[in-house]
Symmetry: C2
């Protein structure tokens, strides 16, 4: 008998009707001969509502108490899900993170999973029940309650699939899979059938709102096949798996755009060991999250360091940049904002040549100027003018023929 983990996000359990629908899916999977473990998020916008309750009380609530508050959201939805399954005449039991023994480290609001007990779940599955686990939460060894960070119900689901040796992990959401690009910008965007963990990680980090990255890392590490699909249809969605030979034929799997970025350029930085480390330690101390970093050098032996940050960190980052300018006696710090970044991602880049060239040519023909370029083994990113971002995305999508089914 196979075991399947099904994860339902907030939109998939937003009201009574949707909870019943999710319950029917789990029942069907069980009737098809599987053991079924469900992982459920808080209903619809309920986590946001809880956060707004907290903000009414305090501008700076203690993180411990936020965890105490927010974990109630999933506890509500798991109990309602169990009621729905019972109402349909089947056996089910809801369990909190603490009750299944999901043990975390002791970092409130962004704890990491240390280990997961399987005894209780296996026992309930043996009793022929559908087991419904609260996502996003756990306890530490002393029984304190922790959350795993926003969106981390995905991580709970994939981690459970790993420790239980599930056949696969289904992620039910409000979209029907992962697309070659954002369909709101390029209507010709096509649903991807199969994609590798590495590609989806790059796509997620380049702005595609797909799944919680930590969940994908878990899947990669523990070899869990993940099926991202719609809770509103029965169509197959996107399978996320290990890289397979046929994937190499696809040079580029997806194209993303990230807007609302700012780019800083520090020119004339002394090119000595430790300088870059010092600069970015300084940036991190101010809580600024750095996106991409580029360093080059000139004939005089000085380095030019460029990096992008989210626009929300802009004012803080300007202060840091000015401190760095003074510390290293730089003549000038350039700040360009807003800027956008378009990226093409694909494992096929490893074995194909001419990919970068094709992308640059497409941008040139569309008269898009490129500020900076960065590449990784499976990704090429260009920072450009945000007014040209949507056009850029569309021409890259067309250049790699992403609107067509792969052979």
């Amino acid at each position: 008998m196979e075991l399947i983990v099904q994860k339902f996000g907030g939109t998939s359990v937003a009201d009574a009707e949707r909870i019943h629908r999710a319950a029917r899916r789990a029942i069907r999977a069980k009737q098809e001969g599987n053991k079924v473990v469900m992982v459920v998020s808080a209903m619809g916008k309920s986590t946001d509502k809880l956060i707004s309750l907290a903000r009414d009380i305090s501008d700076d609530p203690p993180r411990r108490e936020l965890d105490m508050l927010l974990t109630t959201g999933e506890q509500v939805s798991i109990s309602l899900m169990a009621m729905a399954i019972h109402a349909a005449g089947h056996e089910a039991i809801s369990l909190t993170g603490g009750q299944i023994g999901l043990i975390t480290d002791s970092v409130h609001t962004k704890a990491r999973i240390q280990k997961i007990g399987t005894d209780r779940i296996r026992q309930e599955l043996e009793n022929d029940r559908i087991v419904i686990v609260a996502g996003f939460q756990g306890i530490d060894e002393s029984g304190e309650i922790y959350t795993l960070g926003r969106g981390a119900s995905d991580t709970t689901a994939v981690a459970l699939a790993a420790v239980l040796g599930a056949k696969y992990c289904e992620i039910y959401t409000d979209v029907d899979g992962v697309y070659t690009t954002d369909p709101r910008i390029e209507p010709k965007a096509r649903k991807i059938e199969w994609i590798s963990y590495d590609e989806i990680l790059e796509l997620a980090s380049q702005g595609a709102g797909v799944m919680h990255s930590r969940a994908i890392e878990f899947g990669k590490k523990y070899n869990v096949e993940i099926h991202v699909r719609s809770s509103f249809t029965d169509f197959s969605g996107t399978w996320i798996t290990h890289e397979e030979e046929h994937m190499e034929h696809i040079v580029v799997s997806g194209v993303t755009v990230k807007k609302d970025l700012a780019q800083f350029v520090l020119a004339g930085v002394p090119n000595q060991p430790g300088v870059a480390a010092n600069i970015f330690a300084h940036v991190a101390e101010h809580g600024v999250v750095v996106d991409d970093i580029i360093q080059t050098f000139d004939q005089s032996g000085h380095a030019s360091i460029s990096f992008t940050v989210e626009e929300s960190d802009l004012s803080e980052c300007k202060l840091v940049a000015e401190e760095i300018r003074q510390a290293y006696n730089l003549s000038e710090v350039i700040c360009k904002e807003p800027v956008a970044k378009v990226s093409a991602v694909g494992v096929g880049m490893r074995s194909h040549t001419g990919v970068a060239q094709k992308m640059f040519k497409a941008l040139a023909e569309a008269e898009v100027n490129i500020n900076t370029i960065t590449t990784s083994e499976i990704k090429i990113s260009c920072v450009i003018d945000p007014d040209q971002a949507d056009d850029a995305l569309r021409v890259i999508h067309a250049a790699f023929e992403l609107d067509k089914e792969p052979e």
Copy 2:
């Protein structure tokens, strides 16, 4: 250093402003040199809202899942309370029933407290924190979550006061104490300063909505002084304590009325051992809750058994009565409905004579006809016509001069 337990009901934590007000009370008590443990109910109508969520899903939700659902209400309010105390610059920590080790039996939705751990609470109090405990909930030895029944946050508070050896237990609510009678019916009703556990238990069982009865029983058993008071004023409320000598001078402490009752009379019942037991076992099997029972006998050696039930149980009880009529071959079963019951309660009855006579005389002067009478050591009840109930209450209140301060 003394320890005080403060319990805040749903109306006392219904919104952010009220939560801040409750937080200030706890902080003040701490600043006055006390250790403070708070017990908090779910916010306002939130328990009702959770129940209605469950009803949207299922007509008959499993009790286990109801407990899983409902305990989130208190978890929300304790975390918000801790945030409010932190925001005011003081240390606090919220703890669930499970976290303090409040162990119950295994009866979902109406579990009973088996034992309460004090180590965790004492440790947090030693760390100079205000400890905020979720009312109404506990876990069993296996970690399953249970609730103690509606209104049972009072019980949590008094039980905690008992095990912690608190100086007293404050019950903050939306009324400013216990009254001699319902002020909506008799505007001359007066707030009672001191009252005994036994009296308040009788008042509660005769229809005065004061406090959860089990909480009072706990207070009596473990000698916890309870102070029922308003969360909106600083006035002293009503102290509930062991019977003291001065209380005996007060013949009647309070007068209550219970409306919407139905009265059944079974006449000509064979007067043999076991008959009453059989009849009421039958009634209980149908889930009908019996209020007062009266049995008398006639010259023929037959018994007449009369009892009152809530009108909500009327149709079910009519079926039971008909079954009993057939089983014992009774000529007739009388059902009178609606009826009302007025009661006078006071420990002074034990040492004073003429109390019943004074009550009957007052009713006679007001031309109130009495159907049946029952008495206990500290209570006299008369079943009457509901149209005369309010008048009856007022004349009894006046006859015992309850509108005047006791000497």
